[in-house]
Symmetry: C2
Subunit: 187 residues, 2 copies
DNA sequence: GATAAAATTTTACAATTGTTAAAAAAGAAA
DNA sequence: TTTCTTTTTTAACAATTGTAAAATTTTATC
């Protein structure tokens, strides 16, 4: 569970605190296409991606919008379910067959309520995601579709390789036709 | 300090825990146009807006991008400074003369490191901002400029009234000319 | 109230992007 | 391989949006 532990420690936890959580993990392997999390349902688990790739999407005005990609060392969860205990808008599907570590919300929430170090770990998790999202949001303001794609090529070359282009276009907020045009032009 | 306390309690703090923080607040009044936080500097304070309105902006490719508005009951801070202890990209200016409560980062950080309830308060602060930003981000994917403006009218009518249109156009990621066209059309 | 400064709207034109539909290419299954 | 399905690209056209510059309106200052 190398990638999973790397992720946990990167958020500033001391190694000595790991044993409080690790025994609660369940290792699971799931095939490509599996829907891990579905919208409008209260989800009861978070998943650490040990190996594999996933995307989160929701439905808006009949369209499917991809708003997140995760791969090795990322955590996969429904914000609404974990943070607010209510059903969310998130659908999360595996794009490749994957190895995950599964953890009940209740395990995290118990630690948050009783252990100062884990409460601060949870704080740093949310803070780091917040900064990442804000930077992505700002980076995209006033960019042309071409610039957005070039940024994506630089920041996420691995995802570009592993994910189909329709999902990437959706993630970038552009039509697939526009993405194709840009790719033809860049070559 | 009604609005400030309302904000703190809304994140799930028990009233009995307030005295640990309140004495450390300093009340300040500042005029319109005051730059509270400047980019490329390590900021040492967070501010609770008791009364007034502010915007955060950064510079990107020579352009000024407004990416946040805050008013009564919002907290005003540099994510990079508070979360990562490093200079940020955020500039924050007051758009009206304002009444604020000023708090040193060190006060919050001490509480996070010693008090379970406050550590969880900090976690919830980041989590709630994260959900808000993600929803805003998703809401904007594939929307026309007109839809973005209509959403903004609904969700932030007070800010629309109090902030000049150039800043709102920037926040929505559209040019001011486009915003003017939309407003002419809607009437 | 008069004047200057700042913010907003309008105009004209060019560039980017979306939509629909069809063609081509790539991948999966028999 | 051959066939079927899915994904990606291309084409044609329409709609949206940006840019630059000028005109108008609003706000601030004397």
């Amino acid at each position: 569970m190398e990638n999973t532990i790397k992720k946990i420690l990167a958020l500033g936890l001391r190694e000595e605190s790991l044993p409080k959580l690790l025994p609660l993990f369940e290792k699971i392997m799931l095939p490509k296409g599996h829907m891990l999390i579905k919208a409008e349902r209260l989800e009861r688990f978070v998943y650490f991606i040990e190996e594999g790739i996933a995307r989160a999407f929701c439905h808006k005005d009949g369209k499917e919008i991809t708003f997140w990609f995760g791969s090795e060392s990322d955590i996969l969860l429904s914000y609404n379910s974990l943070f607010l205990n209510k059903p969310g808008y998130e659908n999360i599907e595996l794009l490749k067959s994957s190895v995950l570590y599964k953890l009940p919300h209740s395990a995290l929430q118990n630690l948050y309520g009783t252990d100062l170090e884990w409460a601060n770990w949870g704080r740093k998790l949310a803070e780091s995601e917040l900064i990442k999202l804000e930077e992505f949001f700002i980076a995209r303001q006033f960019k042309t579709a071409k610039m957005c794609y070039e940024d994506f090529m630089k920041s996420s070359p691995d995802i570009l390789q592993r994910v189909q282009l329709g999902h990437i276009a959706s993630y970038l907020g552009i039509s697939q036709v526009t993405l194709s045009r840009i790719r033809a032009e860049i070559k």
